[in-house]
Amino acid sequence: MISERKTLFLLAGFMFLSTGALLFADHFFATRITPGQFSLQFTDSMSNSLESKIINDSPATHFTWTLLGNKMEYAKSSINIPTHETETILSGEVLAGRKVKGKITVRVTDDQGNTRELFRVFR
């Protein structure tokens, strides 16, 4: 048998450890790098160009960026993005000096084979 006072300290200690473990889990899962997961978003578009941002929450570091429209490839480039880099902006000109019409797609593929697409309709 152990006195209640000692028990209280012991149990409080375990509660503290448990809470600490959960706080660690929160931090771990909130910032965890998941293999092959990245997100893509538009940041800007003009009359003939598109700007998009890759948020790289993945171990992949090499990305291929393609601008597609009307069954043709307007632009293509590749870029190295360190893991957890969040401010990588890719900009692509569709047709220099000419007004673009129709659906233009931005396709990004990482070195793990994952692909994401965005599209914008130019009117």
């Binding site: 048998m1 152990i2 006195s3 209640e4 006072r5 028990t7 209280l8 012991l10 149990l11 409080a12 375990f14 509660m15 448990s18 809470t19 600490g20 473990a21 959960l22 706080l23 889990a25 929160d26 931090h27 899962f29 909130a30 965890r32 998941t34 092959g36 997961q37 990245f38 997100s39 893509l40 978003q41 538009f42 940041t43 948020i55 929450d57 659906k103 994952n114 994401r116 697409e117 965005l118 599209f119 914008r120 309709v121």
Partner: protein, 639 residues
């Protein structure tokens, strides 16, 4: 990270422990009435009620709800209570003292069971800590509103409405009764003091602490109820085992914590602590304990309406049973001590607050009337015995039932047990069984599953009682050889463990790792709120987006905003979803109905599960895909 963690722990200490410690030190200034372990559950319960009281009072006097006002209130109250306790203690030193309780001890088995419970629950919680549950998102909207507006929220929401000419618009805010202010005040206080991010697991962790304390309180209540028994310590350990370890992950335990069932989780702490105070009050006749019962009862009323309703029924039936069992002592032991100045004054203050000064939403909107009447909804029609067996766990129901019969028969024949304890346990069990199995008989319209959950606590105590007494009797009377008794007890416990762990195992298996999806949803919601112009309306899906209610935390525009496509059956209920815009725009954006909705409401973006609902937007030239992650996509309308 380190500073936030430090501040978070400090805020927990300041909000959940300091005010209760101060109040208890004042009330126990002459002599302690609770043991150190009992204090460990009394303190947080009282702290929650006190912080609620401070923040409600701020609202009445127009004081802003800020971290420093809350800290000031806690500081002044604690300093005042500690000082008064010290002064009174010194002046009362020569006066007559109440008898001090001897220092108790706890078995190593109890500690082992507690650690097992903690490890099991932490292990389950660890990968689920980043919440993706709808309920917690709803609650955190109100918590964040308090933190942002620095005043208590008015519980109301806007909706999409259709006028006589068939045009859609957004309604004015309408009051809602789904939330009770006590569910949000402590969380808001901890968030404001620590500055912890809403996008973190802070609220789930607080619920986890409250949940563990509630199980602890239940085991301490079991010990107090059967204190005269030499094996009350074993009974307490068994209660902890039956209540917290076996069936320890499902509803209403970890599922409620992870699911963000805030009010119920808090109430599961208040109820055993309230009964603990009540039993201690009857034994010691200390006015302070009767006052604590009143304080906790109002704390419960400001936290969870269903629990309050159930507790009041339990107390009324228990009083009736107590009167029937021992009418002669009823007035002197039970009623008279409550009619002393302090409990009466506190009851008066509580009633004034509750019915006049700061009415909870369910009183202000008279939502309480809805529970009286013949049950109509399927989930309110009552359980069959099989459903009840499944809801509370087969061994607990069977053992609990025999425990109840044994308790009454034993008390009737031998009068060994405290009559108040017998009345409380009978009053805690019988009306709940009636409410769950025969709700139409008593014309009470409550969700049967939720009510069944309240049966778990008394059944655990009764099961533990039966096991303890059976083993004790068999050992004392030498009815069975020691080796046979050991073998049968081991076998029995093994069956019990198997059953309880089977339940835990099924919960583990049902919980696929959701953290990736949760993270992806939060990221999409941030983009939706930050990067898309706010002049239009945003919609999202509820059916295929787990935890979608968290999206509203990025907007903080209205409780119901962004509007969402609900489960399809809700559009068929005449009293539920009268508008169908949310359905049309997400399910068939090409339709004429959807186009009218988009035009009338100026809908400019939708957030959907890309795999399931992305296709209908991909080939529609009026929508553009502006955001994508592994699970979700955002389409904007641009025409």
């Amino acid at each position: 990270m380190a500073l936030t963690t430090l501040l978070f722990f400090a805020a927990i200490g300041l909000v959940l422990f300091l005010p209760g410690t101060a109040l208890l030190s004042f009330l126990e200034r002459k002599s302690p009435f609770a043991t150190p372990l009992e204090r460990a559950v009394l303190i947080p319960s009282l702290s929650i009620v006190l912080v609620d009281f401070f923040m409600l009072s701020f609202d009445l006097f127009g004081i802003p709800q800020k971290y420093w006002t809350i800290l000031l209130a806690i500081g002044i109250f604690s300093l005042g209570s500690f000082s008064l306790a010290r002064v009174k203690k010194t002046s009362d030193e020569s006066s007559i003292h109440h008898e001090e309780e001897p220092e108790r001890s706890v078995s190593k088995t109890f500690i082992a069971v507690f650690i097992l419970l903690l490890v099991l629950k932490t292990f389950y919680f660890f990968p689920n800590v980043l919440s993706n549950t709808t309920d917690l998102g709803h609650h955190l909207y109100w918590v964040k509103k308090i933190a942002l507006d620095h005043r208590l929220p008015i519980y109301e929401k806007q909706d999409i409405v259709i006028d006589d000419r068939g045009n859609y618009s957004i309604s004015n805010p309408e009051p809602i009764s789904d939330f009770i202010i006590g569910e949000h005040l402590t969380l808001a206080a901890i968030q404001m003091i620590s500055g912890v991010d809403f996008d973190s697991a802070f609220s789930s962790i607080i619920l986890f602490i409250v949940h563990i304390l509630s199980l602890f309180a239940l085991s301490l209540l079991a010990r107090r109820l059967f204190e005269p028994l030499p094996s009350s310590e074993i009974l307490s350990t068994l209660t902890l085992l039956l209540g917290g370890v076996l069936y320890g992950l499902g509803v209403p335990q970890m599922k409620y914590v992870v699911g963000g069932v805030v009010g119920n989780t808090y109430a599961n702490l208040f109820i055993p602590v309230l009964f603990l105070c009540l039993i201690m009050a009857f034994r010691t006749k200390r006015t302070a304990l009767f006052s604590l019962v009143v304080i906790l009862l109002f704390g419960l009323a400001y936290t969870h309406h269903l629990s309050m309703f159930v507790t009041v029924i339990v107390l009324l039936v228990a009083i009736g049973i107590r009167l029937a069992l021992s009418p002669k002592t009823m007035w002197g032991v039970v009623m008279k001590p409550f009619l002393t100045p302090w409990p009466m004054i506190l009851f008066g203050i509580g009633t004034l607050f509750f019915f006049v000064l700061w009415k909870p939403a369910y009183i202000a909107n008279t939502a309480v009337n809805t529970v009286v009447g013949t049950p109509e909804k399927t989930e309110h029609l009552g359980f069959t015995t099989t459903q009840l067996l499944y809801a509370v766990g087969e061994p607990r129901l069977v053992l609990g039932f025999f425990g109840l019969v044994f308790l009454f028969v034993w008390w009737y024949r031998k009068k060994t047990f405290d009559v108040n304890a017998v009345a409380l346990l009978l009053g805690w069990t019988i009306p709940l069984v009636v409410l769950v199995l025969f709700p139409d008989v008593v014309s009470i319209d409550l969700p049967s599953g939720r009510v069944a959950n309240y049966l778990i606590a008394p059944l655990c105590i009764l099961s533990a009682l039966l096991i303890t007494v059976a083993v004790h009797v068999f050992r004392q009377k030498h009815i069975l050889p020691a080796s046979f008794l050991f073998a049968t007890t081991t076998l029995f416990l093994a069956i019990l463990f198997f059953n309880g762990y089977l339940d835990n195992d099924s919960v583990f298996r049902q919980s696929p790792l959701q953290s990736e999806k949760t993270r992806a949803l939060r990221d999409a919601a941030h983009y939706l709120a930050d990067d898309i112009p706010r002049d239009g309306i945003v919609l999202h899906d509820h059916i295929n987006i787990p935890g979608d209610s968290w999206i509203k935390l990025d907007f903080m525009r209205d409780y119901n905003y962004p509007f969402y496509r609900a489960y399809l059956f809700r559009y068929d209920r005449a009293s539920d979803r009268t508008e169908k815009c949310t359905l049309y725009v997400i399910s068939s954006p090409h339709s004429d109905e959807a186009k009218k909705c988009i035009s009338d409401l100026y809908i400019r973006a939708v957030l959907v599960n890309q795999t399931i609902d992305g296709a209908q937007f991909e080939h529609f030239k009026d929508f553009e895909k502006v955001y994508t992650n592994p699970f979700y996509a955002i389409y904007t309308y641009d025409k």
